[in-house]
């Protein structure tokens, strides 16, 4: 395989640096929640790189802490979506027949339903009515669960499509003829060949998860303050848009750059894993 050009590594490097910066924020800065009403909306300076917000908190430090939350949610929800999607896609493609029809019908419905209204209804669900006690991070886990619930569909579709091809390959037929168990065929023979598809689909899904989390938090239904996330920072910025329009800029550019990096990465990975895409320019 030809070595890919350097520019294909850029999104991965960017994401790694971003994660490193966000998760090491605690080392070189104080509390993100330190409010100082005497220094609201300060101009950028050497002590406050991007100035301060409506409660006098350092915008730059909050962006990093918000990044921790947004990236952690994206990573966990993306992983969950990958696991559920892969399982559904593999079972549907391998079993075929009625199972395939049922699982894919459910997937289609999940894809076509208006996602955001459904997300809003789901996030309004009162967990105490389900007998789940409220802890410090209950809301965070609820958001992760809700987002993964709606994000596995693309992975499932792509995994199933690849599965249908792999199922008919000679090595799978040979394994079947030799009497290898279904579990072993799925895990040892098929899964390694599916991995490329899954990685591509998950990368693209993770970009969308970041967008979804930011919309939910922007609407006030996702990550709840004082825990910062890029989405809820934007929702506060929107309230002071007439006086301090510049506050809407920073969290948005973080979301945009991160999602863009995930989408570029997904595209680059796709052209590496999918031989057909290489026939292009």
């Amino acid at each position: 395989m030809k070595r890919p050009p350097f520019k294909q590594y850029i999104p991965a490097i960017f994401l790694a640096l971003l994660a490193a910066a966000c998760f090491s924020a605690g080392l070189f800065s104080g509390q993100a929640e330190e409010t100082d009403l005497g220094s609201r909306f300060l101009e950028p300076s050497s002590t406050h790189l991007l100035g301060t917000d409506e409660l006098g908190r350092d915008v730059f430090v909050r962006l990093l802490y918000g990044g921790q939350v947004s990236l952690a949610v994206a990573a966990i929800a993306g992983l969950l979506a990958a696991v559920v999607g892969t399982t559904v896609g593999m079972v549907a493609g391998y079993a075929g027949g009625k199972w395939d029809a049922l699982l894919m019908r459910i997937t289609d419905v999940m894809i076509s339903l208006p996602a955001l209204p459904l997300l809003i209804i789901l996030s309004a669900v009162d967990l105490s009515k389900l007998g789940i006690p409220a802890g410090e991070y209950t809301n965070l886990w609820k958001i992760i669960a809700i987002i993964s619930l709606l994000s596995w569909t693309t992975v499932a579709r792509l995994a199933r499509a690849r599965m249908l091809v792999l199922k008919e390959t000679d090595f799978v037929r040979a394994a079947k003829a030799l009497g290898v168990s279904h579990a072993r065929i799925l895990l040892r023979h098929i899964f390694p060949n599916l991995l490329g598809t899954i990685v591509v689909a998950t990368t693209l899904a993770t970009g969308n998860i970041i967008l979804t989390e930011s919309v939910l938090s922007f609407l006030g239904l996702g990550i709840q303050p004082p825990l910062p996330s890029w989405g809820n920072m934007l929702s506060h910025a929107a309230r002071t848009i007439w006086e301090h329009a510049e506050m809407t800029f920073y969290p948005g550019i973080m979301i945009f750059a991160t999602v863009l990096a995930f989408n570029y990465l997904g595209d680059a990975l796709q052209s590496r894993f999918d031989p057909k895409a290489k026939t292009g320019p």
Binding site: R105, D108, V109, I111, S112, L113, P114, A115, L116, P117, L118, I120, I121, L122, A124, V125, D126, K129, L130, G207, L211, S214, V215, F218, L219, L234, A237, A238, I241, W242, A245, T248, F249, G252, I255, F256, V259, L260, F262, N263, Y264, D267, G280, P281
Partner: protein
């Protein structure tokens, strides 16, 4: 096209709607508080006995499935209940809002189509050129952009800095410019991508080479031979994508306080207006499922090679 296939699809869509209504009914029941609690909050003179009597009157003491059955029977008779916040039958509240969202989506989709058609076709024709790569970069940026942030940026530029346009949207042309622009721009990247892919496939077909060999002009090959074949998949994707469009409209409506379905749904969930949230979601779902069904039928109509008739 097989009538049996159409019937089968229709039944599937109805069964799906039924299942969705049951699931959402359960979910709405899991939202904080119940209607009688809310009444008790607004009326300090209500005793616990009154509350119990009201629960019995509204059937809230019965098991969930029985309540759903009663709701379904009433809904099938056209009675979706009253909105708690608006004190009106739910359908009367939803009607005008649905129309507003329709106008918002319709106008922005028209603009999206007008821009996406030339861009997508251009990118496919000049595949690999700098024009194609520029359009590709634009598309990747477009699908990575949060809609609500684009809306906020447009408010910053046109309402705050330049003061040309109002930031909140009523149903008058000037204040609809920004929400329409936001939606049109955010849809553009998606459709250019689809169109570029479909047009690229269409241009690879054998009959295109034949047409060129016969000496057809470039414009004629592009529009008469290739474009006609590129359109059906794009139209299908569009019909299957209505749910996403509604989601986009919801965010944009919230940013601009536009009185549409999205804003209504959001306010209904926030204000514990159970009947309204349930009916709103079901009407949106019914609309989307109908569109999916039509897409399925339309595909066979637009592309004669597709046949749903049972092979003998």
């Amino acid at each position: 096209m097989g009538a049996a296939h159409a019937m089968n699809r229709l039944l599937q869509a109805l069964a799906t709607l039924l299942a969705v209504s049951f699931l959402v009914y359960i979910l709405i029941g899991l939202m904080p508080g119940d209607p009688v609690d809310l009444m008790a909050m607004g009326n300090p003179r209500m005793t616990p006995e009154d509350a119990a009597r009201l629960r019995e009157l509204y059937g809230l003491d019965q098991p969930l499935v029985a309540r759903y059955g009663r709701w379904l029977a009433a809904a099938l008779g056209g009675d979706l209940g009253y909105s708690r916040v608006y004190n009106l039958p739910v359908l009367e509240v939803i009607g005008p809002r649905f129309l507003n969202t329709g106008i918002l989506l319709g106008v922005s989709l028209l603009l999206t189509a007008m821009a996406a058609l030339p861009l997508g076709v251009l990118a496919a024709r000049k595949k690999g050129s700098w024009v194609d790569r520029a359009i590709n970069v634009f598309c990747l940026a477009g699908i990575s952009l949060p809609h609500f942030w684009l809306g906020l940026l447009l408010i910053c530029l046109f309402a705050v800095k330049l003061q040309w346009l109002p930031a909140s949207a009523e149903l008058e042309p000037a204040s609809m410019v920004l929400p329409v622009m936001t939606l049109a721009l955010s849809g553009l990247a998606v459709y250019v991508r689809h169109l570029r892919a479909a047009m690229g496939d269409a241009l690879k077909a054998d009959h295109i080479r034949t047409a060129r060999a016969k000496g057809c002009s470039d414009a004629r090959v592009t529009w008469n031979h290739a474009f006609k074949n590129a359109l059906p998949p794009v139209i299908t994707i569009f019909m299957l994508d209505l749910g996403t469009l509604f989601s986009g409209a919801l965010t944009v409506e919230t940013v601009f306080a536009f009185p549409g379905m999205g804003k209504l749904m959001f306010d209904a969930v926030m204000g514990n207006d159970y009947n309204l949230a349930l009916a709103g979601f079901l009407i949106l779902s019914a609309f989307v499922l109908t569109a999916n069904f039509l897409a399925d039928m339309l595909y066979a109509l637009l592309d004669p090679r597709v046949s749903y008739a049972v092979k003998k």
